[in-house]
Subunit: 202 residues, 2 copies
DNA sequence: CCCGTCTCTGGACGACCGTCAAGACTTTCC
DNA sequence: GGAAAGTCTTGACGGTCGTCCAGAGACGGG
């Protein structure tokens, strides 16, 4: 029979799945989707490669599960800045601080996100999850933008989707430069955001 | 010895390399980097897989050569619209027409570009070429934007890099939706560009 | 204590990967 | 026409991939 589908053991199984998913995320972030094998993932965990098929049907289900766990962490990154800022300038400062921190602090996690989002352009199995996360991120950006407009007594001049696409484009270019070793990546991103954002909210 | 490095045969070799590079591009666009093997590429050409190592040292050189040929086609896409437009509105219309046409007409080629650009985040061997193409595209966008400003008697309100990142972000989101089968992808992109651009040039 | 269930290991499978080399075929030149 | 150079095919190599499975070990209830 399969893993303990009934009884209290369910959460034990869920925990193991999380554990393996974490190892998978770590591996994917380091190697990228194209170069990550199940044995690489198992090597980052404390188990052997066979166990992956005990907790996941196949590779797609494993990666899908990874992505689902990843989303939960991402989509609240700027919420504290939104909640505590008392002026528009404070909000922008908080947003930029957080954005810069993630750019320089965990660039690998972000290149993984872009990698997986790209894979969804080729692999339909990833599309639903990717679209869901993208929507979560869009809403997160929108919370920042609409609060910014509120604090500065103005209105957003573009749709939620447009704001997300714009900021994501800026971040992606910065990430490319950051990973190429350009020390100006973070400052340039800050400058670009401060340049662009106020013009789209006035 | 290797292929005819001397004499007139050089262009024959270059032509063959182009032929194989075209097959490689076609394959990569269809399958994505992660799923493309040399045998898949050879199957799209009229040759067998062994010949690839006769014209290219290894897989990296082949793909690098592909990307280099790809760039030549990309970076002049909007130049005609820039040259012929007599008003700002005409220019935007021409730009949007061209952008929509490539979004719906060759989405596979574009997902390939994003795929390869993403690979450069993991694989340093691709970084130089990707950065070079990105710069070419940035300049192409800048030609459009600065001409637009000129025609409308205004000034661009952000850097060349920022404009490129913004428009690229909008296009990438549209491409994701297009490939997911969303019929609103193209209209939404047009709307977003018309919304955002004038505010960054005024 | 034994037995059934859950968990995990480690090896084996067929397929596919990039690479290479031996040789067949074609072209060129003396 | 024969030799040399250029071009392409074919098959093999070591390796890695996702997947599967037989069985060892751990664990808990009778």
């Amino acid at each position: 029979m399969g893993p303990a589908v009934e009884g209290r053991a369910v959460d034990k199984v869920a925990q193991r799945r999380s554990e393996l998913a974490a190892a998978a995320l770590e591996t994917l972030a380091e190697l990228g989707y194209a170069r990550t094998g199940l044995r690489d993932i198992a090597a980052r965990s404390e188990f052997s490669h066979g166990v992956l098929h005990y907790y996941f049907r196949d590779k797609v289900e494993l990666i899908t599960h990874c992505v689902r766990e990843y989303k939960a962490r991402c989509a609240t990154r700027y919420d504290e800045a939104v909640a505590t800022a008392r002026t528009a300038e404070e909000l922008v400062a908080g947003f930029l601080r957080e954005q810069t921190a993630t750019l320089t602090g965990e660039p690998q996690m972000h290149r993984l996100w872009y990698d997986l989002r790209n894979q969804s352009m080729f692999e339909p199995a990833f599309r639903a999850d990717v679209a869901e996360i993208d929507l979560l991120l869009e809403r997160m950006v929108w919370r920042v933008v609409s609060r910014y407009a509120e604090l500065s007594g103005t209105r957003p001049r573009a749709s939620s989707a447009a704001f997300y696409a714009v900021l994501d484009g800026l971040f992606q270019q910065a990430l490319l430069r950051q990973l190429a070793g350009d020390p100006q990546a973070a400052p340039s991103l800050r400058a670009a955001v401060q340049e662009v954002l106020p013009q789209l909210v006035h």
